[in-house]
């Protein structure tokens, strides 16, 4: 499980494997999140037509993925944790897609 980006500390055979993320990764992720926040505000100030909303969503999603992978350490998690994390968002997708498939198509017969 050794990784170039982490230091392995294992004091006994029964302790958890400790992946100590280097400081520069935490600081880089923090900087990226701050830049993402500035970009979100900047993008909302321009009239980009239909693109304003997708851009805000993409930036927020990238920020969320950075937090999940690095701050929440999912990148070093067990496969079972990956399954639960991915399944959470699949269920969220089911919630959104099925709900919108109903509500957002109700007015179609009017036009």
């Amino acid at each position: 499980m050794a990784d170039v980006t982490t230091t392995e500390i294992n004091h006994s055979g029964h302790a958890p494997h400790v992946h100590v993320t280097p400081m520069w990764i935490y600081l880089t992720v923090f900087f990226a999140l701050a830049v993402g926040t500035v970009l979100t505000v900047a993008a909302s100030r321009f009239d980009l037509g239909m693109w304003n909303t997708p851009i805000a969503l993409v930036i927020a999603t990238v920020k969320a993925v950075l937090v999940i992978l690095f701050f929440m350490h999912v990148i070093h998690s067990t496969r079972l944790t990956w399954v639960v994390v991915i399944a959470s968002f699949l269920w969220l997708g089911v919630l959104f897609v099925l709900t919108f498939a109903d509500y957002l198509t109700r007015a179609w017969n009017i036009y």
């Binding site: 500390i9 029964h14 302790a15 958890p16 923090f30 999140l33 969320a64 969220l92 919630l95 959104f96």
Partner: protein, 237 residues
């Protein structure tokens, strides 16, 4: 235990292992601290998946009405002070960094480093809640609390729909702030535990899980900020 009652072989082969590795925080139903750590991380993620769907349900309703009443949503977002939301986003990101560093210090066995980073997380979390309280007070005074207290009427035709936007605003930010208050309470307990020296390289799982919760609440805000403050055409300084 059954060995003894059944008169089987004495538990001598295990005795040495137990003396050497019995960590005070190892629960009896786990083989070792590694298994306990993995189980707790997995369990926390199962809880967070319910949280994702909990906020997801409110957000799905928010989007249905946003698509239905786009002008009212833009006007509603224009009632927010966007730069207060931006400052709070940065404040929360800083608190996530300090939370991540608290976990790192616990992993490295730095007792006071863990304490200081947890205190910093509590500090920035409190600043967020302070700014939120200022915003809530302002909205209340401006008649932007839904129900009998709602007096906003700048665009009479859209007022009921702006009230609907504000209902989502109060529900979403209120649920988020409730999570922050619970997180702040947990942090106070964790600061005490870290100060007592409970955490270290062999046992940092609870700090990690506290971090998972705190980062999740940060992620919710990462989406709430553009959804509630930055709808295009909504800027008035």
């Amino acid at each position: 235990m059954s060995d003894i009652t059944l008169g089987g072989p004495p538990p001598a082969p295990h005795a040495e292992e137990h003396h050497e590795h019995h960590h005070p925080f190892l629960q009896h139903h786990f083989e070792d601290l590694g298994q306990q750590h993995e189980a707790s991380t997995l369990g926390m993620w199962v809880f967070l998946s319910t949280e994702i769907l909990f906020f997801g349900g409110v957000l799905a309703a928010y989007w249905i009405y946003r698509v239905t009443y786009p002008e009212a949503w833009a006007i509603g977002a224009a009632q927010q002070i966007w730069w207060l939301g931006a400052i709070n986003t940065i404040v929360l990101i800083i608190s996530s960094l300090t939370m991540a560093l608290a976990v790192r210090n616990a992993q490295l066995g730095r007792r006071m480093g863990t304490v200081y980073m947890l205190i910093a997380t509590l500090f920035f979390g409190s600043i967020f809640l302070g700014v939120k309280m200022y915003e809530y007070t302002k909205h209340w005074q401006e008649g932007l609390f839904p129900g009998a207290a709602f007096h906003w009427n700048e665009v009479p035709a859209l007022a009921p729909k702006v009230q609907l936007f504000m209902t989502f605003y109060w529900c979403l930010t209120g649920l988020h702030a409730l999570h922050m208050v619970i997180g702040a309470g947990l942090l106070i307990w964790f600061i005490w535990r870290a100060w007592k020296g409970h955490f270290g390289p062999e046992y940092y799982g609870p700090v990690e899980i506290m971090g998972l919760y705190w980062h999740f609440v940060d992620i919710v805000w990462i989406f709430l900020f553009p959804f509630l403050y930055l709808i295009h055409g909504a800027h008035h300084g």
